[in-house]
Symmetry: none
Subunit: 415 residues, 2 copies
C-alpha cells in the first residue's frame, strides 16, 4: 500500500511556479506514516496525463492529484481521470449552488465556464473546497485504486487536505502509526554553533533531531514515531527541554510561534503597548506584528518614515542630527524610537533605519548597515547596530532587520 503524487500543470513544466504542493503533501504523508515512493509532474495534456495514470496505478494504490481543476479549457484533470476509467462526468447541483453562493457573497456573477467545475465522475464523492470554486473528488474507480484530487492553489489544497482528506485517509486505515514532530525556534545564534552545542542529540533515533536555517533563523525539528500523539509527546518532551536549557535566551518559541507573536504575547501579559517607526523596512515590522489576529490589544501603530521629512514632521527627529549623523545612525534610530513612543503614547517604541540596498551604500555606511532603537517604559532608549552585508539582497536585509528588532524587544521583555 503506497501513495503517489501526480501534479498537473504546464506552468510547472515551464518553471513558472515552484512546486510547493509536492513538498507539503510529502511532509504530510511522512507525518501520517503513509509510504510514498514516486512523484510525477505532467502538463495539461490528456494523453500524457493518461500515460502517467497508467504508470502510477501499476505501482501505487493511493493517487493524489494537484492542479487542473479550474474553470478554463486547459483545466482537464477530472475529465481525463474519468475518461481513463471509462466513466461519465455528471453535473452536481450542490456544487453549482456552492459556487453560486460564493460568487454572490463576493458581489460577482458566476460565469458559464464555472459550470464545468461541477462536472464530476459518476460515483465520485465531493472533496469540498471551503475557500475557492474548484472542489476535489474522493473516488475509488476500482477496488485497488483510490483517487483524491486537489486544486493547485496551495491555500485551497491545504485546507481541503486537513479538513477532509486526512480524516478520510485515517478512516480507511492509513496513517495509524503517527509521525509527530515539534519545531524549536532560535534567534541570535548561528546554525553551526547551535548544532555543536546539541551535537550529542543529532544522532538520536526516536526522536530524531534535525537542524534547519533560513533568513537568519535557526530551527531544530524534533520528530518521534509512536502509536499516539501522547506517546510521541512523551518521547519529544525531555529532548525539547534539554535543548531549551542549552540554548537559553536564544530559544524563542516552537511550531507556529514567530518572533512577532512571542513579543506580542509578552506585551499582552504585561498589559503594555507598542508603536514602531520604520525607515528602510517601510512597514514590514508593522505588517509582521499585525499578521497576528488580536494584535490590536498591544500594537497601536506607528509611522513609516521613509523620507527624512516624515522623520522630522511626524516623529520630531532633529533636523540638525539628521544632517550631522545621517539618517542611518544610532542617534536617529533612538530619536525615531522615542519619537514614535511619545507621539503614539505607547509604553514601548521601536525605530529602524538602515541601508537596504542595492544602492545608497558608502565606504563608511555600506549596504546592510542597520540601526535599531528601542525606547522603554522607564524612559531609557537603547540602540543596536547590525552589519548585514550586501550579498543577500534588499529583501533579506529588510526581513532580517525586522527579526532583529522583534528579538531585541523580546529579550528586553524577558530580561
Amino acid at each position: 500500500m503506497s501513495a503517489e503524487l501526480i501534479c498537473v500543470g504546464t506552468e510547472l513544466l515551464l518553471g513558472d511556479i515552484l512546486n510547493t504542493n509536492a513538498q507539503y503533501i510529502a511532509q504530510e504523508l511522512a507525518r501520517l506514516g503513509i509510504p510514498h515512493f514516486y512523484q510525477s509532474v505532467v502538463g495539461d495534456n490528456p494523453d500524457r496525463l493518461k500515460q502517467v495514470i497508467q504508470t502510477a496505478i501499476d505501482r501505487s494504490n493511493l493517487l493524489l492529484f494537484t492542479g487542473g481543476l479550474g474553470p478554463t479549457p486547459d483545466d482537464l484533470t477530472l475529465a481525463t481521470i474519468a475518461e481513463f476509467f471509462n466513466t461519465e462526468l455528471e453535473e452536481r447541483q450542490e456544487i453549482i449552488d456552492d459556487i453560486q453562493q460564493k460568487f454572490t457573497q463576493r458581489g460577482r456573477t458566476m460565469s458559464p465556464s464555472n459550470r464545468k467545475q461541477a462536472l464530476l465522475p459518476r460515483g465520485a464523492e465531493i472533496l469540498p473546497n471551503p475557500i475557492g470554486s474548484a472542489p476535489g473528488i474522493i473516488w475509488q474507480p476500482r477496488p485497488d485504486v483510490t483517487i483524491l484530487t486537489f486544486p493547485g492553489v496551495p491555500a485551497e489544497m491545504r485546507r481541503m487536505w486537513h479538513q477532509t482528506a486526512v480524516p478520510y485517509l485515517r478512516r480507511q486505515g492509513w496513517g495509524k502509526e503517527l509521525f509527530y514532530s515539534r519545531l524549536l525556534k532560535f534567534w541570535g545564534i548561528p546554525e553551526s554553533d547551535l548544532a555543536e552545542k546539541v551535537s550529542h542529540l543529532l544522532n538520536s533515533v526516536n526522536p530524531t533531531v534535525a537542524p534547519y536555517a533560513n533568513y537568519g533563523e535557526v530551527k531544530l525539528r524534533v520528530s518521534a514515531r509512536a502509536m499516539s500523539e501522547t506517546e510521541a509527546q512523551e518521547l519529544i518532551n525531555p529532548v525539547a527541554k534539554e535543548i531549551q536549557e542549552i540554548a537559553g535566551l536564544h530559544y524563542y518559541g516552537g511550531d507556529s510561534d514567530t518572533l512577532a507573536s512571542v513579543a506580542g504575547q509578552l506585551l499582552q501579559t504585561r498589559g503594555e503597548t507598542l508603536a514602531v517607526a520604520e525607515s528602510c523596512t517601510g512597514g514590514s515590522l508593522g505588517k509582521a506584528l499585525t499578521e497576528i489576529p488580536g494584535s490590536s490589544t498591544y500594537f497601536w501603530g506607528g509611522v513609516i518614515a521613509y523620507d527624512n521629512r516624515i522623520k522630522e514632521q511626524l516623529l520630531g527627529v532633529s533636523r540638525e542630527d539628521l544632517a550631522t549623523y545621517g539618517a542611518v545612525s544610532a542617534t536617529v534610530a533612538k530619536q525615531m524610537a522615542s519619537g514614535v513612543r511619545d507621539r503614539c503614547r505607547t509604553d514601548w517604541g521601536i525605530g529602524i533605519t538602515g541601508i537596504a540596498g542595492p544602492g545608497g551604500g558608502t565606504p563608511e555606511k555600506p549596504v546592510g548597515l542597520v540601526y535599531i532603537g528601542l525606547a522603554s517604559p522607564d524612559g531609557t532608549v537603547e540602540s543596536f547596530e547590525y552589519r548585514l552585508g550586501d550579498t543577500r539582497g534588499r529583501d533579506w536585509v529588510r526581513r532580517v532587520s525586522v527579526s532583529h528588532a522583534l528579538d531585541r524587544l523580546r529579550r528586553r521583555l524577558r530580561g
Copy 2:
C-alpha cells in the same frame, strides 16, 4: 525529441527539501526551447529508479538527473544508471586528482568514501563540477538516449548547467529554436471573465495563450516558438496588443511589473509623491511600495493607524465620526487618506481600513469588508468599498486590500 527530468532523493519524498532544482531546470529548458513533458521524483532506491528510467526512455530521449551523486552509501544514481544499461563502472584518475586538490585547498583530507565519486560508467564523459566534489556525466548509452547527471546541491547544479550542459546541448542541436514568453498582468477582472473575452485566442498554437490566477491577480502567458528572440517577439506583439485592447484598464503591466512598481512609475513620471495610512493592512502597503529600489523618490511614508487613537492623534480623524460611522467606514477611509496627505505634505494619500478577521465581524460589517480612501492633488477624496469575504483568511484579505489600493491609485493616475 524531448527532455525528461528525474530527481533522485528520499529527502524529496519526505518533504525535507523543496525541489527548487525542478523549477530551475524547467525554466532553463523553456528558455532553450527544449520540449519537456514529464518530471519524476524517486527515492534512493535502485529498483524504483530503474523503473523510472524505463518509463522515461520509452517517451523521452534527453534524461536529466539531479541528486544521488554524493559519497555516502545511499548515493547510487550513477551505479544504478550504469547497471540499467549493462555497463561497468570504471575509476577515473582525473576525478580523484580533482577531489584531492579541492580537499587540500580547504585544508581537509580526502576520505575513502570520496573515491566512489570517481566511478563513472564506461564511455561516459565527465560533466565537471567546479564547486563540489561530485562530478556529473554526459553519456549516450544508446544512440537515442542522452543522459546528463547533476548533484542535488542547487549552487553546484546551476554552475554545471551553465558552464558545460548548455554549451553541450547547443552543440548537439538542442535549443536552436527558442521558446520565448511574455506575461500580461491584470487586476480588477475575474479569471473566467477575462478568459471568455479572449477565448478566441486560447486555442492559438504559436503563440499560445494560457491564463493563470492567484491572490485576485489574473495573468495571461503568451508564448512563442521561433528561431530568434526578435522573431518570437514579432509573433507575440500583435497578440499581446490585441489582449491589452480587449482588457483596457484592467491590464496593468507585464513580466516583472507589480501594481506597486507600475503605480510608482506613474508617480515618478509626474513628479508626484504619495503617503499612506494603514489600519487593517498594518504596514503591508508601505512594505509593497518600498520593495522597489528607488521608491523613496515618490513614496515618503505614512502612518500605521492600527488603533483608533492613532487615527485621531496622527491623522486627525474625527472622534465623532469614528463613533458615528465606525472605524471601518467610507468616512474614516477618506479622512485617513486626506489626513496622511496633509500631514506628510505629499500629492496623494491612500487610506485603508477594514476587517481582516478572523474576529471582529458583525452582520452589517462582516469580515472582509474594506474601505479604501484616495486623496488626490486636486483636493478630491474618493472612497471605494470591497467585500472580500471571510473564507480565504486574514492574510488574503490584507494582500488583496493592498492590491486594490494600488490599483485605484494606478487607475486615477492613468485616467
